[in-house]
Amino acid sequence: MTAQADIVVGAIEEPQVTAAVQRARELAPTGPKGEVDGETGALVRFDGRVRRMERTECGGERELAALDYEVYEPMASSQLHELAQRVLHAHGLHRVVVLHSRGVVPVGAVSFVLVVESPHRAEALAATVDFIDGLKRDVPIWKQPVWA
């Protein structure tokens, strides 16, 4: 059972996700290695992307160019890792890998990736919802709109 949490600058690119998952697998040399080892029956991946239209404080919508993520460190990293560990154990998962952006992420790009591996689908899906609820509640990351 391993949890890996990283804050990355700007939009999250696919090689960063692949590398983080690989690091998590190497951290558990005696545990399940992934979907090809026969132990992991479910792999759920959630990508959070920057949406073009953002709700305004007045109740309308306005077009974004990007979101600028403000991160309070080192607390954000430690809270992300603590949350990943809590969800890992609470749901009996094999692995949790999370990446979150800081700084400017343009519309359409990925700012958050969560990968959850577990023996069965039910716990992977429940853990995904649980993790995102915890992220919104307990991890000091704020998004500032950059209007188009």
């Binding site: 403000e70 309070y72 607390m75 958050f112 995102i132 992220l135 919104k136 509640r137 704020w142 998004k143």
Partner: protein, 83 residues
């Protein structure tokens, strides 16, 4: 004791600054709840957002009864919104 409190996100926008001073009077061991109370009293722009706010002391969420010192790093954390 006077402490510095760091602000982020909407709290910083409401206050127009990312750092405010809070005067906690003569107490040498003020509680977390006293810091939040004094913050609202001395910075009226933040009052409305403090109902749901928590204080982080040296990068960890603190409980109401915990005490703070002048050298602690204090951050008031209201709604966050990552993801």
């Amino acid at each position: 004791m006077v402490v510095q409190v760091l602000l982020f996100g909407g709290m910083a926008r409401m206050a127009g600054t990312s750092r405010v001073e809070v005067d906690l009077g003569c107490s040498q061991t003020p509680s977390v709840s006293r810091v939040l109370e004094a913050l609202g009293e001395q910075h009226a722009a933040l009052q409305g957002a403090l109902d749901t706010a928590r204080l982080a002391v040296n990068s960890k969420f603190a409980s109401d009864g915990d005490t703070v010192s002048a050298s602690d790093e204090l951050v008031v954390i209201a709604l966050v919104g990552g993801g």
